[in-house]
C-alpha cells in the first residue's frame, strides 16, 4: 500500500480512538493492587522475602503481626502472589487509582494471633489451607491440638504419653 492508500483507508475506517474516559478493560490476568485475605495469612513473610522493592513488610509483635503494603513502591510483578503458600494474596484485575500525595494508598493490616485454649497466650496458628495440606484428613483430635500453643501442645503430648504408659503398666 502506498501512503495515499493508507490515508484513504484510515479515512474510510474512521476514528479508532477511545473517547476519554472510555478504555480497553484490563484482561483477567491484569496485575493491579495486591490484596490480602487476612484470614488465610499465616504471617510467614514469604511475600516480603521475594518482594524486590520492599513494598511489602511483615512485622511481628508479641500478640499481633502486621502486613503492610505500599503501592507507591510496588512493581506489580506478582512474585508475592506466586510465593504465598496459602494463596492469601491476590492481584486486582483493575488499574490502581490515581492519588495525590505519596503513600496515600499504603495499607497496613494487623492481625491478632488467636489465643491458646490451654494457657491463653497468643500464638501463630496454621490456617485451614495449611492444615488440609499437612493432614489428608483433619480429625477432631488434631483440630483440638491445633488450637493450643506449641507449649501447651507439648504438655498435652507429655500428658498423653504419661497416660499411655500408665495404661500400659496397668495392663501388664
Amino acid at each position: 500500500m502506498s501512503i495515499w492508500e493508507i490515508l484513504a483507508e484510515n479515512l474510510r475506517q474512521g476514528v479508532v480512538t477511545l473517547r476519554y474516559p472510555q478504555r480497553v478493560p484490563p484482561p483477567a490476568r491484569y496485575r493491579g493492587l495486591v490484596q490480602i485475605e487476612l484470614e488465610d495469612c499465616v504471617g510467614c513473610a514469604s511475600c516480603a522475602y521475594v518482594c524486590v522493592s520492599a513494598a511489602i513488610h511483615v512485622t511481628e509483635e508479641r500478640e499481633t503481626f502486621c502486613w503492610s503494603y505500599d503501592p507507591a513502591k510496588c512493581t506489580f510483578c506478582g512474585r508475592c502472589v506466586d510465593a504465598c503458600p496459602t494463596s492469601a494474596l491476590q492481584m486486582q484485575a483493575e488499574c490502581p487509582p490515581i492519588y495525590h500525595c505519596a503513600g496515600a494508598l499504603a495499607v497496613t493490616y494487623t492481625r491478632a494471633y488467636p489465643r491458646c485454649e490451654g494457657c491463653g497466650k497468643p500464638f501463630k496458628v496454621a490456617t485451614q489451607i495449611l492444615r488440609q495440606r499437612a493432614y489428608t484428613e483433619v480429625s477432631g483430635e488434631v483440630e483440638t491440638l491445633l488450637r493450643l500453643c506449641p507449649v501447651c501442645r507439648q504438655k498435652e503430648a507429655i500428658k498423653s504419653m504419661v497416660e499411655a504408659r500408665r495404661i500400659k503398666e496397668a495392663t501388664r
Binding site: 500500500m1 484482561p27 490476568r29 521475594v50 518482594c51 506478582g78 506466586d82
Partner: protein
C-alpha cells in the same frame, strides 16, 4: 561558521536522556561526542544485595522495551548454574513471548524512526499496529510492558489461548508486509531521508564489534538464535535477513524483514507447542560457581554473567547489552552527515540507553 549543538539530554525526538554534542559546520556535522550515564541506576550493584528471586524483577527493569530479554537471560544463566532445564512447554512459551517482544520492539522502533523523520502518519500507523502486540502481551502476562513471565526453571503463566495469538500475529504480518515495508522502501520522502544516509561499512561493523540488526544491515550475518541456538530455536525454520548497503534504509529493512520472520517463528511455536508442566520453581540458594548465558535480543546480543558463593544472593551479575557496543559506530556514521540526519542516524541503531547505563 562552526558551532556546537547539544542534542539532549532532554530532546523531543528521544525517549531517554543522553547527550549528543555535535560540532557543526553550517548544517554539516564535523564531529560527534556522545555522553551517556543519565540513566545509571547501579543495577548491577544493587543486584548483589538482593536475593536471586528479587533479582528477576530487578533485571526486568533494566529496560522497559526489552524487559523480557533481561529476565530470560538472567534465568538462563541461573539455570546453567543450577544445572536444570525448564520443561519443553515452558521453553516454547518463552520463545513466543521473546518473539512477541521482538515484534513490539521493532514496531516501536519503526514508529520512532518515522517520528524522527517527521512522518507523523507513519508514526501513528506503526503505533496503531503496536497496540495489537501490546494487547497480546497484556492478555498473556497481565502487563503491557513488564511481563514477569520468566521464573527459574520455567515460566510464571501458561499460554491458554493460542488462537488469539495466531490471529494477532497474522494481522501484524499482513500489516508489516502490506504497509510498513512498502512505505519505508518506496515512499519518495522516506527514501530521500534514509537511502545512503549514515553508512556503516562491513569492515567497520566488524572492527567496531557491532551486533544485531546494526551488524546485519552492514552485511554481517550473525544471529545467536542460529549461531548458538538456545531454548528451542533449533526446532524452527527461519532465515536471518541481511542487507549489504549499511545505510539507515538497510537497518529499517533488516528490522522489517525480521518482524516477518518473528511472526513465522511464533506460528511454528504455537503449532509445535507440547502440553505439560510449565511452572517454574522457587530456588532460594545457588550452588557456588559461575555461569553465563547469551541470547539474541531485538537489538543484538545480550550477555549475562553470574557468580555465586553459595548464598542466596549473587556475588556478581554482569550485564552486557547490545546498545553499548553499537553506540560507538554512531560516531563513524555521523561524520560528514548533516544536522538533520543526526537524530535519525543515532536512532537507526535502535539505541537503548537505559540498557546501556543500567
Amino acid at each position: 561558521m562552526s558551532y556546537t549543538i547539544p542534542i539532549g539530554p532532554y530532546h523531543p525526538a528521544l525517549e531517554e536522556p543522553y547527550k549528543l554534542e555535535l560540532e557543526c559546520e553550517g548544517e554539516n556535522v564535523r564531529e560527534a561526542h556522545l555522553q551517556i550515564g543519565f540513566n545509571f541506576r547501579a543495577i548491577e550493584l544493587i543486584a548483589q544485595s538482593r536475593n536471586i528471586i528479587q533479582n528477576i524483577a530487578l533485571f526486568e527493569r533494566v529496560c522497559g522495551i526489552c524487559s523480557n530479554v533481561h529476565t530470560l537471560t538472567y534465568c538462563l544463566a541461573l539455570e546453567n548454574l543450577l544445572g536444570i532445564e525448564p520443561s519443553l512447554r515452558a521453553q516454547y512459551i518463552r520463545v513466543i513471548v521473546a518473539e512477541l517482544e521482538r515484534l513490539h520492539s521493532h514496531i516501536l522502533w519503526a514508529g520512532a524512526a518515522a517520528h524522527i523523520l517527521g512522518f507523523q502518519t507513519l508514526f501513528m500507523t506503526c503505533f496503531r499496529l503496536r497496540e495489537v502486540v501490546m494487547d497480546l502481551l497484556e492478555t498473556i502476562s497481565g502487563n503491557r510492558v513488564n511481563y514477569a513471565m520468566n521464573a527459574i526453571g520455567g515460566v510464571n503463566r501458561d499460554l491458554t489461548d493460542p488462537q488469539t495469538i495466531r490471529d494477532g500475529v497474522r494481522q501484524i504480518q499482513k500489516a508489516v508486509e502490506g504497509q510498513l515495508l512498502p512505505i519505508f522502501t518506496n515512499d519518495p520522502t522516506v527514501r530521500a531521508r534514509c537511502a545512503g544516509v549514515g553508512i556503516l561499512t562491513k569492515a567497520n561493523a566488524i572492527a567496531w564489534g557491532a551486533v544485531g540488526p546494526t551488524a546485519r544491515a552492514s552485511g554481517v550475518a550473525q544471529d545467536i538464535r542460529q549461531a548458538q541456538p538456545y531454548l528451542v530455536y533449533d526446532r524452527f525454520e527461519f532465515s536471518v535477513p541481511v542487507q549489504e548497503s549499511g545505510d539507515v534504509l538497510a537497518r529499517i529493512l533488516v528490522r522489517a524483514l525480521e518482524m516477518v520472520e518473528s511472526c513465522q517463528i511464533i506460528e511454528q511455536a504455537l503449532e509445535q507447542m507440547p502440553s505439560g508442566q510449565w511452572k517454574g520453581q522457587l530456588f532460594v540458594e545457588l550452588p557456588p560457581g559461575e555461569a553465563v548465558a547469551r541470547i539474541e535480543a531485538p537489538r543484538g546480543e545480550v550477555f549475562y554473567y553470574i557468580a555465586s558463593d553459595g548464598s542466596e544472593k549473587p556475588l556478581r551479575v554482569k550485564v552486557r547489552t547490545p546498545s553499548f557496543v553499537n553506540m560507538p559506530t554512531v560516531r563513524l556514521m555521523l561524520k560528514g552527515a548533516t544536522l538533520a540526519d543526526a537524530p535519525l542516524i543515532q536512532a537507526s541503531i535502535d539505541p537503548c540507553y537505559s540498557c546501556t547505563d543500567r
